[in-house]
Amino acid sequence: MKTAAQCGLVACPACGTITRLSVERLGLPPKCQLCFARLHSRKPMSIQKSWAWLTAGVLAYIPANVYPIMHTTVFGNSEPNTIIGGFFVLWEMKSYPIALVVFAASVVVPVLKFIAVSYLLISIQGNFQHDRYDRTRLFRMTEFIGRWSMIDVFVVAILAALVQIGSVAQIDPGLGATAFGATVIFTMMSALSLDSRLLWDGYDSSATNDESSAT
């Protein structure tokens, strides 16, 4: 039960082909012989990049909540809407399912993502030995669900495109939408730069008894 890295091998991230890393060339990033993608045994600077993107995401989340995500004008009265305000309006309208979707996309998912990625990074840096499987699942979920937060930005853009009815009603996007979009993109970058293989490095297979099923 060995990893590719332990055997001096590396798998192509694009096509999956396995290549032998020659020792004297370790300094240069080699390329896949078949599809020419860059090969890295582990993504370079994975932890640092991931922390950096995550920090940028957290910082962008502040203006995303402070500035209005859109302005609603009804019969000449303009009113700014923040992310959380939009949720309360839906809740009062008794559109509970949609209110929950909006709340999940704009608050639950981003905040959980901040916490999850931080925990994964700390667990790698602290060389945690336990729960590797659960942490891998957490990583998978983070990666899968994070992009869905973009739904908030799309809703604002669609409302702004549709509700332009002269003097009756008008919706315009606000600065908060850009900040929220930045949060989503930065946290996606954070998860993409986090190399999940690091979660398993240092795993001692002899410590467990499932070793015999390796081959």
Partner: protein, 234 residues
């Protein structure tokens, strides 16, 4: 067979010749935990998973290029239709206003949110289009046993853009917007809405048929045959 492939394609790989590498085609490494597995034959429709972290290693989908091509072409046609007609139409006290898919991008740029408008244009229209066109760019020549240049580049582009194609999220965004407005206005779904929904179904079907790795298998199988053929000639 591996060695044949090397000599036949040497021209494409001058820059990489310095790096001594051996292709180990009987092994597969888990992309999530890096554990090495020996490739074994699996049943049609089955999926091999990592014994350590349960990530999907490979599948045996047995899909023909013809089927993948049909779905890919249908998706491209739906993409065109979805962008040619009104997406949603709203009517409030006799005044009506309609939007197409790209109107959402204009609405952002009109308010000076240029950066966000450009990014959304990529997520909703450009990246999905590049993926669809790229898929056809690879599959159409394979179907007719030809090869266009830069297939590797196109393949890597498709893999790279996968997480940044967000058509399905836009569709759900439209549904959320619909519910928001339903109480105060009369909303009609345009032709484009249905075409876009169908496009999303086709995209899911296409991804079910050919994920990134099986797409590469199509390419490399065709290449092997080609190499064998050119080996016979020389």
């Amino acid at each position: 067979m591996v060695a044949d492939r090397h000599t036949a394609n040497e021209g494409h790989r001058v820059e990489d010749r310095r790096i001594v590498e051996t292709v180990l085609s009987s092994l597969v490494a888990c992309h999530e935990c890096d554990l090495l597995h020996e490739k074994i034959e699996i049943d049609i429709g089955a999926e091999a998973r990592c014994i350590r972290c349960n990530a999907s290693l490979y599948t045996n989908k047995q899909n023909s290029i013809d089927r993948a091509l049909a779905v890919g072409l249908a998706a491209l046609i739906m993409f065109v239709v979805a962008n040619a007609f009104p997406f949603l139409q709203i009517t409030v006290s006799g005044n009506s206003q309609s939007m197409s898919i790209i109107s959402a991008v204009y609405a952002l740029s009109n308010e000076g949110l240029w950066l966000l408008a450009i990014v959304c244009f990529g997520f909703i229209l450009l990246f999905p289009l590049i993926r669809m066109a790229g898929l056809l760019y690879i599959l159409v020549p394979l179907r007719f046993h030809m090869r266009l240049p830069c297939i590797e580049l196109v393949f890597r582009g498709i893999v790279f853009l996968s997480p940044w194609s967000m058509m399905e999220i836009y569709l759900f965004g439209a549904i959320v917007a619909l519910v928001k407005l339903a109480a105060m206005a009369n909303i009609e779904l345009g032709y484009s809405f249905w075409a876009f929904a169908l496009l999303n179904i086709l995209t899911v079907a296409s991804l079910q048929m050919i994920d990134n790795h099986s797409l590469w298998e199509f390419i490399s199988e065709a290449r092997d045959q080609e190499d064998l053929h050119s080996g016979d000639v020389s």
